[in-house]
């Protein structure tokens, strides 16, 4: 496997992890923009724009875009997060040219008013759908409370209000400001003709103009408040807690991932034996989220309403034990083996490598091959897990709880 990169003066950065023996080619545009780059009144515009990107260009109607993607036999999709918007397709190697042409063309969508009005309904349905699913917006509300005024508290989908009031002119302006070549990278993996990829992309984007302003980053003042969401007819009680974590370039991120696995992996972790194996809870999960300048740890508990208080006490006791006494070498080894195996299995597919490469490049302009990542996990010690536990799980978290009302 070979990592190839290209950057001309005015063109986008192009990077590829080439594997001549692969069956497929994956390609994607990674745009360095997401919910945190929106103003409060435009909350949700990055995600809404992700939908609108498929609605046609100067060269293609919306139907042609969809039809061509299917004609390529592409497994394609897009997603938006707090910090990025990604458009990707996995195709057979002989379709590389067409996939690059299509994905690049849709980065300059027509953004027509009529499509905007129809697609707004789809996005509102998406918001309504997630609002009906547990934990009923508790995750988004907890992030809002935890990050306060900081842009990382913005809801990725926005709200019914912001999406309903958004105008096409605002979206056009946002697109102009954020979908610029200095703010996007083209990523490929699998069987890639890199020279062709570079020549074709440079030719397609030659006329694109504009530059993005750098993202505003600053450390947030983390909130520690609590809130209750009342919900009709919920049978379980849902609790979301958020603690401060570490940023995407912090060297202790490997230890933090291992810590989350030791404490709350869905199998064999401390909370698994305390709460899941005993039938006290349906889910007890803990996972870190890494952002540019900071991060957080999200805890999620789903159990019967009458058990919530006792389960919360158990979780707190487990945390305190880790903070006071650390973890055993055996626990660390088990967590490490799980993560290492999962990384090796995931790395078998070029489409998975695409995301690892693209997200790593967006975060740190660098890609560590799998073996280097595995070596980082191998080097983590039980003491480091305890240190990161003291640092992250000691502070009072932000809490949002969903409770049943008649």
């Amino acid at each position: 496997m070979e990592l190839l990169t290209h950057k001309s003066i005015s063109g986008p950065e192009i990077i590829a992890l080439c594997d001549p023996a692969a069956f497929t080619t994956s390609v994607g545009w990674f745009v360095n923009t997401g919910a945190r780059d929106e103003s409060p009144e435009l909350a949700g515009v990055s995600h809404f724009l992700e939908h609108m990107v498929f609605k046609g260009t100067k060269r293609r109607s919306a139907e042609q875009v969809n039809s061509e993607l299917d004609h390529l036999g592409a497994q394609s999709n897009a997603f938006t997060s707090e910090e990025s918007t990604v458009f990707h397709a996995c195709v057979l190697p002989e379709c590389q040219d067409q996939a690059v042409d299509l994905l690049t063309d849709i980065m300059r969508p027509s953004l027509r008013e009529e499509d905007f009005q129809t697609e707004r309904q789809v996005v509102l349905e998406e918001i309504a759908m997630y609002d009906d699913q547990p934990p009923y917006g508790a995750m988004e509300r907890a992030m809002e409370l935890f990050f306060g005024e900081h842009s990382l508290g913005r809801r990725v989908l926005g709200t019914t209000e912001t999406v309903s009031e958004m105008t096409i002119e605002q979206m056009v302006q946002y697109h102009k400001q954020r979908y610029t070549l200095d703010n996007m990278i083209l990523v490929a993996s699998g069987k890639v003709d890199f020279q062709r990829l570079v020549e074709q992309t440079e030719s397609l984007v030659g006329s694109w103009r504009g530059r993005s302003s750098p993202r505003q980053t600053h450390l947030p003042k983390f909130g520690i408040s609590s809130e209750i969401i009342e919900r009709q007819a919920s049978h379980q009680q849902y609790t979301v807690k958020i603690w401060p974590g570490v940023g995407c370039n912090d060297p202790s991120r490997y230890a933090l991932r291992l810590l989350a696995s030791v404490i709350a992996d869905e199998s064999g972790s401390r909370l698994f034996w305390e709460l899941i194996d005993t039938g006290l809870a349906e889910t007890a999960a803990l996972w870190p989220q890494f952002f540019q300048e900071c991060g957080c740890i999200v805890g999620y508990l789903c159990c019967a309403p009458e058990d919530t208080e006792e389960n919360t006490d158990i979780i707190q006791r487990v945390f305190q034990q880790v903070i006071d006494e650390g973890v055993t070498q055996r626990e660390l080894d088990l967590a490490r083996n799980k993560i290492v195996s999962s990384l090796i299995l995931s790395d078998e597919r070029p489409s998975n490598r695409l995301f690892a490469l693209g997200q790593s490049w967006l975060a740190r302009k660098r890609y560590d091959p799998l073996d280097a990542v595995l070596a980082r996990y191998a080097a983590v010690t039980p003491d480091e897990l305890r240190e990161v536990a003291v640092q992250t799980l000691s502070p009072t978290p932000t809490t949002v709880q969903v409770v049943h009302v008649e």
């Binding site: 497929t24 969809n66 299917d70 349905e125 309504a128 194996d277 789903c302 299995l345």
Partner: protein
């Protein structure tokens, strides 16, 4: 690359299937054991899931913790699920861990401890699943559809019922395991990087003398039509619609599958275009083929805000019936290339491939080669699909809705 498919039938009836994928670092297996929901007594709905949970709480020389820690130490990614016919254990792992993992799973199906002092914990876990399901309207919708459309014993859901779970005693679990965890009618499908001779030897060692009673015969299934509504305080109404089609076992299955592909595969499919793209009625809409006990159903789903539910149902039905106006050459070409690409992409995942060959064997008693599937796909024509649609027009509709308002099938559609 030439496909290498192997079959080996053990003297106890267990079928071992293997697809060699030497370009991968992993191996995966799907182990289908005939202990699905339909084999439990009717008053003990939930027994199959509870038995599966209990069988993972210690087996052979290992207690519960030792068993799970051993799997974690090996780095085995694993899931288990309960269907109407089977308990399915799926594992993916670095290929070096394959033999040891197989040994652990053989203890689980052959020598589960089924400890009485853990029954209550396992039961509580079952209650947790039931309550969580009640809160998830789209999953609830499909569960309700299964209950409604497929009479006993086929309509049981994996989660079972509150009453069923409450009634289960430890002897029920032990009897269920003794009667249903057995080699005959079990399928072990392996895919990835392995040596076939070594796999056969390992399976003979671990499972060669595994025996037990034969699988019970099931009654004939007749899927039901009609409608049912479940009240749920939600923004959206969730619609699950089913109608008859030919089953997986049918020589015409590829035609039915292609018609459903025209409806639902990809962003240019008819449902996505008509229901979402043109009208913005939904975020999620799809159709899929489902085969059970030799009967095929097309299952469709749409979730939409309540005041647009009636229009959504109308467009959904209209789009299904639009297949009667024929399929264009362009639609069929897109579908063919999507299916062919998916077949190539499947070679990048040992887990996906092991699942597919297990499913193929269960329904067909053989595993079609990639070349055979490609040939079937290539032979599809627009005329052939239209003829098939007309010979098997959608009928025997069942509609289940979950939301704040009921919805009914338009008059006459049930017998259309």
């Amino acid at each position: 690359m030439k496909q290498q498919l192997n079959t080996y039938r053990l003297s106890n009836g267990l079928v071992l299937l293997g697809e060699h994928m030497p370009w991968l670092r992993s191996a995966a297996f799907t182990f289908l054991v005939p202990s699905g929901t339909c084999y439990a007594p009717p008053e003990l709905c939930g027994l199959a899931s509870l038995a599966s949970e209990m069988s993972q709480r210690g087996c052979g020389p290992y207690d519960s913790r030792q068993f799970l820690e051993e799997l974690d130490f090996l780095g085995v990614e694993r899931t288990s699920s309960i269907t109407t016919h089977h308990t399915s254990f799926s594992c993916a792992m670095p290929s070096s861990a394959f033999e040891r993992t197989l040994e652990l799973y053989s203890h689980m199906v052959r020598r589960p401890h089924l400890p009485e002092d853990q029954l209550e914990d396992a039961r509580q876990l079952g209650f947790q699943d039931l309550r969580a399901l009640e809160d998830e309207p789209s999953h609830r919708c499909f569960n309700e559809l299964k209950r409604f459309r497929f009479p006993q014993p086929f309509g049981r859901t994996a989660q079972g019922t509150l009453e069923g779970l409450q009634s289960i005693q430890i002897d029920d679990v032990r009897e269920f395991c003794a009667n249903n965890l057995h080699a005959s009618d079990s399928i072990l499908a392996v895919a990835g990087n392995f040596k076939w001779s070594e796999v056969c030897e390992a399976v003979e060692r671990a499972l060669g003398d595994w025996n037990g009673p034969a699988t019970k015969t099931l009654p004939k299934l007749e899927p039901l039509s009609g409608g049912r509504h479940t009240d749920h305080a939600s923004n959206q109404t969730h619609l699950a619609l089913a109608y008859d089609c030919v089953p997986y076992e049918s020589p015409d299955y590829y035609k039915t599958r292609a018609l459903v592909g025209i409806l639902s595969d990809g962003m240019s499919s008819r449902l996505f275009t008509e229901v979402r793209e043109k009208r913005g009625l939904v975020y999620s809409v799809f159709a899929t083929c489902f085969s059970l006990a030799g009967k095929g159903s097309v299952l469709c789903y749409a979730g939409t805000t309540t005041n647009r539910a009636e229009e959504t149902l109308h467009v959904l039905l209209e789009t299904i019936h639009s297949l009667g106006s024929g399929v264009s050459e362009d639609e069929l070409a897109r579908l063919k290339v999507r299916i062919k690409s998916a077949l190539v992409m499947e070679q990048e995942s040992s887990a996906a491939r092991s699942h597919q060959i297990a499913v193929d064997w269960f329904h067909l008693g053989r595993v079609p080669t990639r070349a055979e599937v490609l040939s079937e796909i290539d032979s599809l024509t627009c005329e052939g699909l239209l003829d098939h649609f007309n010979a098997h027009r959608p009928n025997n509709f069942a509609l289940v809705t979950v939301g704040s308002q009921p919805l009914e099938l338009p008059g006459g559609i049930v017998d259309a």
